[in-house]
C-alpha cells in the first residue's frame, strides 16, 4: 500500500507512547481501587472522552462508514437517537445510584439493589461477552492489516511467508494491550482511550475535508446521491420508503429506547469510565461531556462512507478482500466501494436477488488510500490501529474488574487482602487476553459460531434496561422479580427471533428457526429492533408481576439505591454551565438543530 519510513515512524511513535504512558503510571497503582477504578480520581473531561472512546472501537468506525455508504445519512440515527438521549439519562438520573452507592461495578450494583443470583447472571454473561468482543476486535484488526497489505513488504524482505501476518498481528496487539494494562490498569486504558479520541479526530478531519472539497461540499454531495441519502428523516413514516427498512416506531422504541438505553445505561464497559471520576458531579457530567463530540461524530465517521460512494469508480489504489482482477473490481465498483469477489471464480458475488454484494467495510480503508499521501497516511492508519487497541483494552479492563470483584471475590475467594485482589486483577488481565486470542482464532475457523454468539448476547442484553429502570425507580421491585424478569426477557427475545424472519432471508441464523414464521420484517434491522422491544416489554411486565407476588425489600436497605429513597444531589454550589441539567438542555437543543438541518 505504499507506506514509507515516515508512516512507520508515526506508527512506532504511537506504540512507544502507549507503552510509555503505562510505564509512567505504574508507580501510581498501589491498591485494587487504583487498578480497577483508576483510584476514582479522574476529572470529568477525561472520563467523558474515555466514555466516548471506549465505544468508538475500530469496528464502530469502519462499520459506521460502511453503513453510511449503504444507507446514507440515516445512519446518524445510531448516534442521534441511538445514543444521545440515553447518555443524558444515565448522567442525570442513573449515575447518582451507580456512583453514590459506591458499587465497584454494574453487577455489584445489582447485588446491592436486588440479590446474589441477579448479580451472578449479569456478571457471568458480561464477562463472557467482553472476552469475545475483545477477541473479535483482535480478529478484525489482523484481517484489516492483511487486506491493506501493511506488513507484506516487511515479510517479503525477511523471507517469511505472508500467511504469518495474521498471527503476528494478533500476538503483537495482544502483547501491547497486555503490557499497558498490567502496568497502569484502568488509568492506562483510559489515558489511551483519550489519546485515541484525539488521534481519530486528527486522522479523520483532513480525510473528510479533502473528500468534501473534492465532491463540491455538502451541496455537491447531495446532488450526486439519492435524496434519501442526505436527509436523515426522509421516508421514515413507513419501513418501505426509507433506506434502513424500519418504521419510525421501531426506530425510536427499538433503537432509541431499548437498545440504546440498554447499552449506554447498563453496560459496565462504559459505566466503568464514569465510576473512575473524582466526584459525584464529575461522574454525572461524564456521559454529558461525551455527548457533545458524539453528536458530531457522524460527520467524521459516516460522511467518509457517503463520499466513498459519490466518487467516480476507479481501479486506482483500491483494496479488495480477495484478489479479483483490477478490471473486474473497477467495473463493478460503486465509487470507492468494490464488490465482494468470489475467491474461486474471480467473479463478483451476487445475493439471492442477483444483486452485487458490496464490500462496504472497505469504505474507510479505501478513502484513506485514495486521499492520503504517505506521511499523513501513517497518521490515518495509526488512528485506526489506536481504535482497535482501545477497543480491546476497554473490554479487558471491564473483564478483569467484573471477574475479580463479582466472580472471584464473591464466589471463589472472599475475605482476602486487597493485595490479593490486585494480584488477581493482573492474573485476570493475562487470562482475559489469552481467552481473547482464542476467540480471535475461533472467529477465523467458525464464522457461524461467532454470529450465533452475537445473537445470544443480543438476547441477553435486550431486557437489561427494564431491570435497571425498575430497580432504580420502583422501590417495590424485588430480587426474584428482577432475576426471572431477565430470564423471561431473554427467552422472549429468542422466541421472537425464532418465529420471525427478515424478507428474502433463509431460515437459520437470521430467524425462523422455531418452525412457524409468524411475521416477516422488511429488513433485519427492523427484526432486531422489534426483538429488543419484545424482550424489554416481557422483562418489564414479568418483573412487576413477580415483584408484587414476593416479599418486598426493607426500605432501610434501599437508601442510596432507589430514587424515592435517595437524597437528590445538590448542584447549588456549581456555576450554571457546570450543572449536569444545564449541560443536558444545551445538548438537547443542539441535537434538535442537527436533526432539523439534516432532516
Amino acid at each position: 500500500m505504499g507506506l514509507t519510513s515516515i508512516d512507520w515512524i508515526i506508527m512506532l511513535l504511537y506504540f512507544a507512547s502507549v507503552l510509555g504512558i503505562g510505564a509512567v503510571l505504574k508507580r501510581y497503582v498501589k491498591s485494587s481501587t487504583d487498578f480497577f477504578l483508576a483510584g476514582r480520581s479522574l476529572p470529568a473531561w477525561i472520563c467523558g472522552l474515555a466514555f466516548l472512546s471506549a465505544n468508538l472501537g475500530a469496528q464502530e468506525v469502519i462499520g459506521m462508514a460502511a453503513s453510511g455508504a449503504k444507507y446514507g445519512i440515516a445512519t446518524s440515527h445510531f448516534y442521534w437517537i441511538g445514543a444521545i438521549p440515553a447518555m443524558i439519562f444515565v448522567g442525570l438520573f442513573m449515575m447518582p445510584f451507580y456512583y453514590g452507592s459506591r458499587a465497584r461495578s454494574v453487577p455489584e450494583y445489582l447485588r446491592l439493589r436486588f440479590d446474589e443470583k441477579t448479580r451472578g447472571l449479569n456478571a457471568i454473561s458480561f464477562a463472557i461477552m467482553t472476552v469475545f468482543s475483545s477477541g473479535i476486535s483482535m480478529y478484525a484488526m489482523a484481517r484489516l492489516i492483511q487486506v491493506l497489505h501493511v506488513l507484506d513488504p516487511i515479510f517479503d524482505r525477511l523471507h517469511i511467508a505472508r500467511s504469518g501476518i495474521f498471527h503476528v498481528s494478533v500476538i503483537a496487539s495482544a502483547v501491547i494491550v497486555l503490557v499497558y494494562i498490567l502496568l497502569g490498569g484502568l488509568t492506562s486504558a483510559i489515558y489511551n482511550e483519550v489519546l485515541q479520541f484525539f488521534l481519530i479526530v486528527a486522522g479523520f478531519i483532513p480525510l473528510v475535508w479533502l473528500g468534501l472539497k473534492n465532491v463540491g461540499g455538502w451541496h455537491g454531495l447531495s446532488e450526486k446521491l439519492p435524496a434519501a441519502f442526505t436527509h436523515s428523516w426522509m421516508g421514515m413514516s413507513s419501513a418501505q420508503t426509507n433506506p434502513l427498512g424500519v418504521d419510525w416506531f421501531g426506530l425510536v422504541a427499538g433503537l432509541g429506547f431499548v437498545l440504546s438505553f440498554g447499552y449506554w445505561c447498563t453496560d459496565f464497559l462504559v459505566v466503568q469510565r464514569a465510576m473512575a471520576a473524582d466526584s459525584m458531579t464529575a461522574a454525572r457530567r461524564t456521559p454529558l461531556i461525551a455527548a457533545f463530540p458524539k453528536m458530531f461524530f457522524p460527520f467524521l465517521v459516516i460522511l467518509p462512507g457517503l463520499i466513498a460512494i459519490a466518487l467516480p469508480s476507479t481501479a486506482a489504489h483500491l483494496a479488495t478482500t480477495k484478489t479479483g482482477s483490477a478490471a473486474t473490481t473497477a467495473q463493478y465498483s460503486e465509487g470507492l466501494i468494490p464488490p465482494k469477489i468470489d475467491p474461486n471464480t474471480g467473479r463478483p458475488l451476487l445475493d439471492r436477488q442477483g444483486k452485487l454484494i458490496m464490500d462496504y467495510d472497505l469504505a474507510i480503508p479505501n478513502m484513506l488510500l485514495h486521499y492520503f499521501p504517505t506521511g499523513i497516511l501513517g497518521l490515518g492508519l495509526t488512528a485506526l490501529l489506536a481504535s482497535f487497541m482501545s477497543g480491546m483494552a476497554g473490554n479487558v479492563t471491564a473483564f478483569n474488574t467484573v471477574w475479580t470483584y463479582d466472580i472471584y471475590q464473591s464466589y471463589i475467594r472472599p475475605h482476602e487482602s486487597d493485595e490479593h485482589y490486585l494480584w488477581m486483577g493482573r492474573v485476570a488481565t493475562v487470562f482475559g487476553i489469552a481467552l481473547s486470542v482464542l476467540a480471535a482464532y475461533a472467529a477465523t475457523r467458525f464464522n457461524n459460531i461467532m454470529d450465533m454468539l452475537q445473537l445470544v448476547f443480543a438476547f441477553v442484553n435486550a431486557p437489561l434496561f427494564a431491570t435497571f429502570l425498575l430497580g432504580m425507580f420502583w422501590k417495590r421491585a424485588t430480587g426474584h422479580g428482577a432475576f426471572f424478569g431477565l430470564l423471561t426477557g431473554t427467552v422472549a427475545a429468542a422466541f421472537h427471533h425464532g418465529l420471525t424472519l427478515p424478507i428474502g432471508e433463509p431460515v437459520g441464523i437470521k430467524g425462523g428457526w422455531l418452525g412457524p414464521i409468524l411475521h416477516v420484517y422488511p429488513s433485519d434491522m427492523a427484526q432486531n429492533f422489534y426483538t429488543a422491544i419484545w424482550a424489554w416489554t416481557t422483562c418489564f411486565v414479568i418483573t412487576i408481576v413477580i415483584s408484587l407476588l414476593t416479599q418486598p425489600h426493607e426500605e432501610s436497605k434501599l437508601v442510596g439505591l432507589v430514587y424515592s429513597l435517595t437524597e437528590k444531589p445538590s448542584e447549588k454550589h456549581l456555576r450554571w454551565y457546570a450543572r449536569p441539567a444545564a449541560l443536558a438542555v444545551v445538548i438537547i437543543v443542539v441535537l434538535l438543530l442537527l436533526n432539523i438541518f439534516f432532516g
Binding site: 515516515i6 515512524i9 508515526i10 511513535l13 504511537y14 507512547s17 510509555g20 504512558i21 509512567v24 503510571l25 508507580r27 501510581y28 487504583d34 483508576a38 483510584g39 480520581s41 479522574l42 477525561i46 488509568t187 489515558y191 483519550v194 489519546l195 484525539f198 486528527a202 483532513p206 479533502l210 472539497k213 473534492n214 489504489h317 485514495h370 486521499y371 492520503f372 499521501p373 504517505t374 506521511g375 499523513i376 497518521l379
Partner: protein, 70 residues
Amino acid sequence: MGIDIRLPIGLVFSLVGILLTAFGVASNNAIYQRSLGINVNLYWGLVLLAFGVLMVALGRRGMRPRGKIE
C-alpha cells in the same frame, strides 16, 4: 492521578506535527496529486504541532502544585 494526561498527548501530537511538517517541506510535490494538489502533510502537520504545544502548556500548568480545592 499521577501525570496530567495533556502532557503525553501534547508530546505525541507535537512530535507527529514536527515529523509531518518537516516531511511536507522536504517531500516532492508529485505525491500530493491524491490530496487534490494540497500539501496536507505540511498544513496538517502545523495544525497538529500547534495543538500539541497547547496541550503541553495546559498540561504543565495542570501539574503545578496548587492549594487543595475540595
